[in-house]
Symmetry: C2
Subunit: 233 residues, 2 copies
DNA sequence: TTGGACTATAAGTATATACATAAAAACCTG
DNA sequence: CAGGTTTTTATGTATATACTTATAGTCCAA
């Protein structure tokens, strides 16, 4: 009965993975419970738990109390991607980073931004358009709205020295964020700012960040042609 | 010294998060070691370990043996995103899903694909162009190369019934994948297939999947205009 | 001053035990 | 038999203890 020596949670995990891949345990199948596996593997139940929990977190197993553990039916695998800080991203490629503030103003936001940031009608926000350059060439530009009520001290900060993003991550804690990734077609404005042709496809990230129920900032990053975002499973 | 009662790893995690957000522990700071925190929180070291490990996995803490635990300097937060199975994605929006195979052939891949899939020069792969439709309208098209050596049984499968992606996830286990996200400009071919205008910006996902060192498949998904991919932290 | 050997330390892990909790399954009861 | 209650059970978690491992720091010698 004893299937060998499994004395680390990684080895247990590897064996479970092997059985899933070898289709000994097929998608949808219930697998033996923790206690049984612990006996079979000759280790403590906590060790099995650690291995199975990790696999469940990565989406490969479904676990429910009392019901048991089954191999996930639709292997919706999860990829983790690092949210880039633009300066690091550029500098890690060995390029020099520079950024310029194109415009800075207090203004009433358009309704789309207002809805996303959950502010009252007529409230003025800080509106900031910045361009980030790699080796002097346009890399990405950011169209950002900041809620000054959620960000004490922003009025006094000089955002031409440190970019708004860096100032915010360094000074304002946040709980979470929404991201969306999409593509757009370069119009006249984008073509001018990014020094590309009108009509080119551009990669776009929209991000909102919040803390304590207040939306701190909402930004649209429009990247110059050729940008790629990578990740692995 | 005892800071209160923390008798679950979640409560410990919440307290640590609070201190980070309140800047009691600033980015770059070392925090007390597990043993000290366990005493302060009045719980076992394993409980502190569980809480800190989870925070480290989400990128908020940096931990190294012997060195200790510090608040991450650049809060490169990690977002997890679900890799969509197109049919589910479409059906979960209440739309009807359909897909058609535009072309299917055995062919020698172009050098870019050959390099990415690590196959010898001159080897023929399966090349498959498919269109996925939501409510009858073009949603995304896939230009896919499959290495038949890595996929026993693919020759016999009828990929017009089940899409290649679904056939693969159902039949071939995989260890990992590379993803990249980018934007492109619709050319004549894309405009025709996706029924959009030439020159529109399109969202693109390139994905390779491998198992046991063999690249199974490499696919480029080109989405119709308007597609967005969402995620949260 | 450098470079290798040693040591101390903090995280990492394994284990037995105990109890908590969610929820499926069995058991009522009208 | 429907609907609610109890029991059972698999996962989830906490804890004390012990040992492992990576590595920052220290020490020492060439």
């Amino acid at each position: 009965m004893s299937g060998g020596e499994f004395n680390s949670w990684q080895s247990v995990q590897a064996e479970v993975l092997r059985r899933i891949n070898a289709r000994e345990w097929k998608p949808g199948d219930f697998i033996p419970n923790e206690a049984e596996l612990a006996i079979e593997f000759g280790c403590a139940r906590a060790t099995v738990n650690r291995a199975l929990r990790a696999l469940a977190e990565s989406g490969l197993l479904d676990r429910r109390r009392k019901a048991g553990t089954r191999v996930a039916l639709n292997p919706v695998r999860k990829a983790t991607l690092d949210i880039p800080v633009i300066r690091y991203e550029i500098e890690s490629k060995g390029q020099t980073y520079r950024h310029t503030v194109l415009t800075q103003e207090r203004a009433v936001p358009p309704s789309g931004i207002r809805a996303r940031m959950q502010v009252e009608q007529g409230v003025k926000l800080i509106h900031l358009v910045t361009l980030h350059l790699a080796d002097g060439k346009p890399y990405v530009f950011g169209d950002r709205w900041i809620n000054p009520q959620a960000v004490p001290g922003i009025e006094a900060a000089d955002l031409t020295v440190k970019s708004a993003n860096e100032w915010l991550v360094a000074n304002i804690p946040f709980e979470g964020g929404d991201f969306s990734f999409s593509a757009m077609t370069a119009g006249k404005r984008e073509a001018e700012i990014l020094a590309c042709k009108e009509g080119e496809g551009l990669f776009v990230i929209d991000r909102s960040t919040w803390n304590k129920g207040l939306v701190i900032t909402s930004v649209r990053l429009t990247f110059a042609p050729g940008y790629q975002m990578h990740t692995k499973i």
